[in-house]
Structure formats: structure tokens, C-alpha cells
Symmetry: C2
């Protein structure tokens, strides 16, 4: 079951002026499931995106990157049940056909449409089913449909993921709403599974693109469930400009920083929801690495811990077998690491220092923290000033169960 | 259950002239368990070793490396139930005390003893129990005790791991016998969990050390169970010189190459046994990467596949959800990888080419191979001439079960 995600209600989600959303049931993998989402954007909306670094990236990722660089985007179309990845030339044609068909219905150009897919890899996309469902999705489009949209992009997700936030920006009220999906194959590299965030703030496209990179690096790029970087990761941020604020034209302005922080907050909350709903997750684990020699070495240590099956299963069992964390720090790849300088904390409990177990550490203190649903691992390297934070979950029977039966 | 390991019998293991082995029950973790092994080496035995690269390496690893560089080794002492890793200065003293005590009983110097430990990390070594058990272990020493010795070094291993081989070397009969242990926390990096190989061949120490590196790189360094590199990995090769062959003094000789191949065969068989008995393993998987641009990139692809929880659980389920393999190839970290050039095979079945599913691939062919207990994944990168092979296993409920309860 998801770890501490409050039940989402439709009322918590704020419409973003200039954005409407509609869904349909195309029967892509099985009938009777919401599996197509269309998101329409008002004229003059600025759109930015970051995408997976996986070399086997999906056809829709290739097409979306291209369209984003060429045109003002007017619509997003998302399907679940099939990733359209590892599908070669036919997959490219299917992604393009989806865009062309939606464009025809909306009276815009195909390049103004961004396609997204998520689901099983290396199976042909049933593009005819998607195209047939588009009129229904368009007819369903309305501003207050974020709640339904969050449901329509779920795959192995147990709960929908959506967040809204309202800020005051230079005297104007600005809304930010976002949805995301993802539960397994989660170790975003420069992007996320699927995340769509919209705001009515006014901001130039090049500035928004720089913001998107920062937002990804401080939210979705800081989570991992199983270390598997997806072929389809995409984060899109659309800004409709309807809030009436003076258009943000530079990253140097106070308004940029304020908006960037608010969008990052929304993205980080969505990203953490993905971990809380990670496949089979029973614990939410925050890993802080402090006083590292560089960001890179902090990341190495954080991900060595976050990806260790031994550590993840120990957390599942609430067993303070914490020597496994020392082992992961030791093999993280820092060649000149002096283990005698390291401190390891579990929440506020000092577990290890001077190369071994801390003198005052008591098993019952470790046990107490391990039983919690939310745990922070803190590693102080004492080599410099760099820090990093990664969010992950434990590894349970249900992870194996879910992934041993996902296609069936 | 272990995958295709024939039942070992004492008769299959050949004594090595100059080597005796004895065991004891020290009650380190629980009573009534064989948990101490002593291996005595004749005078003039040459010994070489390779050890874990983990920066949190265990105290016995530090001591063993030091002793190996200083002295002619006369004895090895191994305990299970406690890794003596992450134990700081006290751990060093315990490892040294164990050596000193055994040396006193054997009338040699402490530097002529190599200590080894395996078990739980970051718990104090009950050194008094080990020392108290040494006389019993010494009294038990005999040449035909390899079978019992293989049992005495087991932890979560289900079956003991031992191999003997006999070759003719320049007209003399040479014996090679080896034992190993390991089941979880297995991703040896320049060494293995614990592997001890002895031969009666005559060979100089510096030449033997070069051989040890080659042997490790072509056996234990090619396996992974869970990607967790242990703090205690050690591979020791001892050559007693009792076979009567002319001492091998150079790596350029035919005898060196012949002996190296034979020792590598023994080591590779032991290494594969560790995978076959990997924690929770139900499948033995060989990963061949071919026509890579470099050894390094072949390794990146092989280990991305070998460590993916999604791929490992799909193998457990016999589900040919093979797009997950494409995803792992794509995120392995080769920035300029052209996925259109790659071929993916499962045994003899061509699964993917030209960036997607192969035209003639049929689900039932993939299904047939996935149901086997032994499966080869072959990835042809078509970028150069480098190749690599990695052996691994699947990921089952039992891996979670074993590691969620290992300490209790």
C-alpha cells in the first residue's frame, strides 16, 4: 500500500486558466479502463520539457522533443497500456499518426501536438484504438478535470498523483497544477516517468525551459524505486500566461526564482508521491548525503544505498542490519574514501563512526526507527561541502509479485 | 533451490599434497554449527590473493593483505557468522589476535597466518569463541577434509561449493582443489566472497600473484547476484610445490598458461555455483555481450541487465517481457549507442533488431526459452570487437524472504 499519501479529492485540484483536460477509454490493453488523456492548451501557451536519457527512448519521446523545438504547443495526448518503445520505425509512424489525427480534429498542425505513451515495451501500439478514442476525449475536455486526468495516466500506480498550489506573484494570483504517474521502472535520469505541470503564469519559453531543467533535477531526478531508468520519462511544464503577471523574461528576476520554487515544490511533491506509491513500497526513505567532496560523489553514495536490494529488504523487514549500509557506502566507487571519517545516522540515531559501530549505539534505538513508515538515512562524509538528497522506498514481496505478473 | 548443482560427495574432492584442513564448532552466531575452518600449508607453499575493492573492507581483509605481502603463509583461518567488517580499531585487534593465537599453536609467526571472516557486518567479533575453538580445528586437520571444509564456510548458502581437477603438467600429475562460499551480497569486484584454491604445482609467488588476478577476472569477477559488493571478498590460491614439476618462473611459459587455464576452470566452476545457489535463485542466466566498442561498455550493458530488478523478476516469472532488456541496454550509459544496430537474442531466438521487435519473433518462442532453468541472453552491439560474459540469477520471493530475515 502507498506510504502516507492522503486520499486525493477533486476539490483539492485547481483549474489553470487556459488548460482543459479530457479522457477516454480506448481499450488499449484491456476494455473499461481510462487510458487516453488529451490536454488542450490556449494560444500563446509556452511549453518546456525534459525527457529520458535512455538510448532506447520511446518513439513518442523522439517526436515530442522534435515538436517542442519547432512549434507553439496546443495539445498533449497520452496513452497508457503500451509504451510505444522498442518499436522501431513503425512506432515512429504511430506516434506521428496520433499527433496528425488530433491536430486535424483541433484544426492545428501535427507539430503543435506532443504525444506520450506508457506501458509495456516492445509491443506494437494499437494506434487505431487511440485515434478512434480522440473525439470522445476532446468532447470531455474541461478546466476542472485534473482529478480524472490523474486517474487516466495510471498503470501499476495504486493511487492517482496530483498537486495544486497557489502563489502571489508580483501582486497577481498564480495557479500551478500538476499530475504524474509512475510506480516501477523508476529511476528518472534528467526527467520523470510522466509528469505534466501547468501554470497560468506568463513566462518566456527559453526561460521556462531553463526552469524545467532545474525543476527536474530537484524533484523527479532525485527519486528511485528500482534503479531502472524508463524509456518514456517525460516532464512537461506549460505556462498559459492567463494570470496577468508581467511576462518573466529572465532567470535573474525575483519573480522567476519565486515561480521556480513553487513549480519545484509541486514537482517534488509529485515525485515523492511516486516513491510513496512505488511498487510494493511499505516505507518511504529519505537519503541525505552531507559534506561530500563533490555532488557526483554524493550521488554515487546515495544511489548505492538507494539501489541495494540488501538494504531495501532490511528496511522492509524493519531489521536494523545497518552494516549493509556501510558496505554500500564502501562500494559506491569513491576510491580514496576514508571510512574512519564517516558518520552514519538513522533519523537522529548515530549508528556508526570511526569505521565501526558508534559506542553509544543501541540496537533498540535502530529498531525503533526501522519500524517507522518514514525514515531518514544521513551519511556525513566529512570530505567537503557538497550535499544531495534522494528519495526511495523499500523492497518487498509485493515488488516481486507485481513485476512477475505485470503483463498478465 | 539451487539451479542445477549436482550433489557434492566427499569422494569427488582430491587431496592436495601439502594441504590439510580442519574444522570446529565455535558457536559464533548459534551453537551446533560448523563455523571455523583452519587450512594448514606445507613449508615453501607459495600463496597469492585478491581482495574486495570495497572501501569499508573488513578488518581480516586488511590484515590478510598485509601478511600476504610480508611472509610465506603457513595457515588460513576462516570464521562464519560474523564478518568483522565495519568494526573499526577493535576489529583490527580481533583479526590480529586470531592470527597470533593460531601462530602460537602452530609454532610460526602471526604474519604467516591469513584471517578471513564472513557473516553479519558491524557487529563485534566474538574473538574468544574463535580462539577457544582453534585447538579442535587443528586436531581435526587432515588432507581429505575438503568436503567438510566446504560445509564449514557456508552462511546463507544452501549447498556446499567445491571442485577438484587433475591435469598433466610437463609429465607430472597436478591436482587443483578449491572451495567457495557465497549466496547474497554477491557482486565481486576484483575478488570473490570467499574462495580458497590449492594446487600442488610448483610456481613462484610473483607469477602466482599475476595468475590470481587473471583467475579472479575470469571467474568470480564475472558473477553477480544482487549487485552488492561485499566487504569481505577474498580469493586465495596456494601452491604447495609437492607435485614435482619444474617450478614455473615466468608467465610466458606453456606450463603457466596450462596451469592458469586449469585454475581458472576450477574458479569459474566455483563462481557459477555461487550464482546457481544465489539467494532465492530459480534460474541461471548467462549474459553475453558481443561486438562492443570496448570491454568497459560491454560490462556496462551486461551489468545493467544483470542488476535490473525488473528483468530479474520477469525471469523468475518466466514472462518474456523482453522490452525490459531493451530498456536496460538503453540506460546502461553508452551515450552514442545506436539502438537500430543492436540484435537481442534469448538462446537462439532473435528477439529484437532495428530498434524494435524482430519481424519473425513469436511470443511462444520467447516463452519456451524463459521456462528453462538455464538461459543465455545475447546482445550484439555491432560497434567493435570487445566481448564480455556475466553470470547471474533471477530475483524471487525467496530473495526478499532470505534477506528480510537473515539476522534472526
Amino acid at each position: 500500500m502507498p506510504v502516507n499519501i492522503p486520499t486525493l479529492t477533486a476539490e483539492q485540484l485547481l483549474p489553470v486558466s487556459g488548460v482543459t483536460l479530457g479522457i477516454a477509454e480506448a481499450g488499449i490493453k484491456k476494455p473499461g479502463r481510462k487510458d487516453v488523456l488529451v490536454m488542450l492548451l490556449a494560444e500563446d501557451t509556452q511549453t518546456a520539457g525534459v525527457f529520458t536519457q535512455n538510448r532506447f527512448c520511446a518513439a513518442p519521446v523522439v517526436v515530442a522533443k522534435q515538436h517542442l523545438s519547432l512549434s507553439a504547443i496546443r495539445a498533449l495526448v497520452v496513452n497508457t497500456g503500451n509504451a510505444n518503445a522498442g518499436t522501431g520505425e513503425a512506432g515512429m509512424q504511430h506516434a506521428q499518426a496520433t499527433c496528425a489525427e488530433l491536430a486535424k480534429l483541433l484544426n492545428c498542425s501535427a507539430q503543435q501536438v506532443l504525444p506520450f505513451s506508457t506501458g509495456v515495451i516492445m509491443e506494437p501500439l494499437p494506434v487505431d484504438k487511440i485515434i478512434a478514442a480522440l473525439p470522445t476525449a476532446i468532447a470531455d475536455c474541461k478546466p476542472d478535470n485534473w482529478f480524472t486526468a490523474a486517474h487516466a495516466i495510471m498503470t501499476t500506480d495504486i493511487v492517482p498523483k496530483a498537486v495544486s498550489k497557489q502563489i502571489q506573484l508580483a501582486g497577481k494570483t498564480v495557479i500551478i497544477s500538476g499530475i504524474a504517474k509512475g510506480s516501477g521502472m523508476i529511476r528518472p535520469n534528467m526527467a520523470t516517468m510522466l509528469g505534466f505541470i501547468a501554470t497560468d503564469a506568463a513566462i518566456e519559453k527559453t526561460v521556462l525551459q531553463q526552469m524545467a531543467r532545474f525543476v527536474a533535477d530537484h524533484s523527479f531526478n532525485r527519486i528511485t524505486v528500482d534503479g531502472d531508468t524508463s524509456t518514456n520519462d517525460s516532464l512537461i511544464i506549460a505556462a498559459t500566461g492567463k494570470a496577468g503577471n508581467a511576462t518573466i523574461t529572465t532567470t535573474a528576476s525575483a519573480e522567476f526564482m519565486q515561480l521556480q520554487q513553487a513549480v519545484t515544490d509541486v514537482a517534488a511533491e509529485l515525485a515523492k508521491m511516486i516513491v510513496r506509491d512505488g511498487e510494493g513500497a511499505t516505507k518511504f526513505i529519505t537519503i541525505h548525503i552531507e559534506n561530500g567532496g563533490s555532488q557526483e560523489e554524493c550521488n554515487k553514495v546515495a544511489y548505492a544505498i538507494a539501489h541495494s536490494p540488501l538494504i531495501k529488504t532490511a528496511f522492509f523487514a524493519s531489521d536494523p542490519n545497518l552494516g549493509r549500509i556501510l558496505a554500500a557506502i564502501g562500494y559506491a566507487g569513491i576510491q580514496d574514501l576514508d571510512v574512519a571519517k564517516i558518520q552514519l545516522y538513522l533519523d537522529d540515531v548515530l549508528v556508526a563512526e570511526q569505521g565501526g559501530r558508534a559506542a553509544h549505539y543501541r540496537e533498540e534505538d535502530g529498531q525503533r526507527v526501522m519500524k517507522q513508515a518514514e525514515i531518514t538515512i544521513r551519511v556525513v562524509l566529512n570530505r567537503g561541502n557538497a550535499t544531495t538528497t534522494v528519495w526511495t522506498c523499500d523492497f518487498s514481496y509485493d515488488y516481486v509479485k507485481i513485476n512477475a505478473s505485470y503483463r498478465s
